[in-house]
């Protein structure tokens, strides 16, 4: 559990991007398997912001079976307390990539991963996957609350992780953070299945928050929601960004531009471009990015 505890972050692993090149060198020295740091896009990202690096991905390759090379040489940084959007056409690897951030990829049999993912400076692939997931929450494409009461859904993860504090207070706090409290406070012991899709998805956020992660991964969280529920969900994301680092996979460019600070564009398993959202959408550096964000393909 201590292996990726955020409190363990020492000065050596806290990377401030004031000097991007120095940062890359330090990264190289620490991860011996890393040969080259990020190329152009790394510089772009760094120049846009002064945030601390939360997730550092280097030379990540991922295969389904023997011949589907789903991720090819991905190197990127996710900044702390920002919303980072992963965009790209269907099958570009964005969902695969986000699953590599909390080792959910390992639940799929017959897959291979090379390269490294560091969270708070620690290689999560040299840690216990269960401990990793305790610190990195995830919200899925389709709402997947447990067939239990709303209350039990929120407290479930906290309980298995040995939470001994005031459960009622924790449930209330998490439901408030997920902007669901006012809608469910009178029915906490009713079935989660009686909630609407949007409410269920916010319940899944509350459930993830109860474990007190410092990163929230969201894999197309609004793809099963109607526009009104989507709007509400996006408001929730915006409110959470001050406390959490959020990575959101989306197929909606509008959503990416509405909610994210940083945008990563993937195409055919490769990282094409990453940078501040505003820059990626208005002044893309790569032709393919421009074609995608302007709607010419995808």
């Amino acid at each position: 559990m201590a292996s990726v505890d955020p409190s363990n972050v020492g000065p050596s692993s806290t990377q401030t991007d004031t000097a991007p090149s120095t940062n890359s060198t330090a990264e190289d020295a620490r991860q011996e398997d890393t040969t080259t740091a990020a190329t152009g896009h790394d510089g772009n990202a760094a120049s846009e912001s002064k945030a601390e690096t939360k997730i550092a991905v280097s030379n990540l390759n991922f295969w389904y079976g023997d011949d589907t090379h789903a991720l090819q040489d991905i190197t990127m940084n996710v900044k702390a307390n920002r919303v980072t959007a992963l965009i790209g056409p269907s099958g570009c690897g964005k969902s695969t990539l986000i699953r590599c951030f909390n080792r959910m990829n390992e639940l799929i049999p017959n897959t291979t991963l090379e390269g490294s993912v560091h969270v708070n400076g620690q290689n999560i692939y040299q840690a216990d996957p269960v401990a990793v997931r305790r610190h990195i929450g995830m919200v899925f494409q389709k709402p997947n609350p447990f067939p239990k009461t709303i209350y039990k859904n929120v407290i479930w993860g906290a309980r298995i992780n040995g939470y001994t504090g005031n459960e009622d207070a924790l449930v209330e706090r998490c439901l408030r953070q997920a902007a669901l409290w006012d809608e469910v406070k009178d029915n906490l012991h009713g079935s989660a299945y009686n909630l609407s899709g949007g409410q269920q998805q916010r319940l899944c956020i509350a459930r993830a928050l109860a474990v007190e992660p410092d990163i929230l991964l969201m894999d197309e969280p609004t793809s099963a929601l109607d526009p009104v529920a989507t709007g509400k969900f996006e408001d929730t994301i915006s409110e959470l960004r001050s406390e959490y680092t959020i990575v959101v996979v989306t197929h909606s460019m509008q959503q990416a531009s509405r909610v994210s600070d940083e945008t990563v564009f993937l195409y055919m398993g490769r990282l094409i471009e990453m940078g501040a959202t505003e820059q990626v959408f208005t002044r893309p550096q790569q032709e393919r990015t421009e074609a995608y964000v302007t709607g010419r393909f995808g």
Partner: protein, 311 residues
């Protein structure tokens, strides 16, 4: 097709009924219907005979005496028809079988669906089906000669060779595949997204299985238990061979007992005159057995239906 014109008749299109195919369609329909009706009629016939003979029985023995009597003496000058010793024999066998089959069957189901590698699954599932395919007479023989003769009497040779324990254990082994396969279906039906949600919260595999998957599949698992138990209640050959033929009201598994099914076999093989009370008692016990298993199957169906509505 182009736009329908006002001239609807098209000489190239023959719309008259086919003289050969139309009667065949009718014949198939009624033929299939007849087969379906036959099975219903057979069931009705069996229940009708059970009821008819039972009414004859209950005109001479009161229902209360039958259901609450503790002495079963169906032959002889002064017969007594208290069914409780037979019911207790059946419950004893079923209880022992349940203690064997429910934990082992459920554990196998969880192992096959959640833990086993694809390779292990490939041979485990057929192996269970082989177990389900063993004829019950072989099981009965196994209970008598090995479980009772070698194991139980190996501990204490003064124990009766015919006893409830050996029969119950082997009935339990017989119904393991049923528990395992129905429970496994229920576990497989739990959406994978629930497990993914639990893993993402930092749960271990065992926590996911114990606290998400099994609770979500619980009604299907309970249904598998009930189906298997109703099979155990109705099981005849193993108990007829290995449990004994002494209707005893006891909870001691090492005694020789008789179950409802065992009694029916004994009487059906014997030479009791038709029309006597002793003969009719056969049908009364048969009716009771039928009602018990019917009730359990209905309960299982009800539970399975409810569980399907869950997600």
């Amino acid at each position: 097709m182009s736009q329908p014109s006002s001239d609807a008749s098209d000489a190239s299109m023959d719309l008259s009924a086919n003289l050969y195919r139309s009667p065949r369609e009718q014949l198939v329909k009624y033929g299939l219907g007849l087969c379906a009706v036959l099975t219903i009629l057979t069931t009705l016939g069996i229940v009708g005979i059970l009821l008819y003979e039972s009414i004859g029985f209950f005109s001479q023995v009161s229902v209360i005496d039958f259901l609450t009597g503790t002495d079963w003496e169906f032959a002889g000058a002064d017969p007594s028809f208290g069914v409780l010793p037979l019911v207790s024999g059946t419950l004893l066998i079923t209880g022992i079988a349940a203690a064997v089959a429910m934990p082992i069957g459920l554990a196998s189901a969880i192992y096959i669906s959640e833990y086993a590698s694809p390779g292990a699954r490939r041979w485990l599932k057929p192996a269970l089906e082989v177990l389900a395919g063993v004829p019950t007479v072989v099981y009965g023989f196994f209970a008598l000669t090995f479980v009772s003769g070698v194991i139980i009497q190996g501990f204490d040779s003064t124990l009766p060779p015919l006893n409830a324990l050996s029969a119950g254990l082997v009935v339990g082994i017989m119904i393991i595949p049923m528990v395992a396969s129905v429970s496994e279906d229920a576990i497989q039906a739990v959406p994978k997204s629930l497990a993914a949600g639990a893993y993402a919260l930092g749960a271990t595999k065992f926590e996911v299985v114990l606290r998400v998957i099994v609770p979500a599949a619980l009604s299907g698992i309970i249904a598998s238990f009930i189906l298997a138990l109703s099979r155990a209640i109705g099981e005849t050959m193993i108990v007829a061979i290995a449990a004994g033929a002494t209707a005893t009201l006891t909870a001691n598994p090492l005694e020789s007992i008789q179950t409802m099914t065992g009694f029916i076999v004994q009487v059906a093989k014997g030479d009791i005159d038709q029309g006597t009370v002793s003969y009719q008692s056969l049908f009364a016990v048969g009716l009771l057995l039928y009602l018990i298993t019917l009730g359990m199957n209905l309960a299982a169906n009800w539970i399975i239906r409810r569980y399907r509505e869950n997600y």
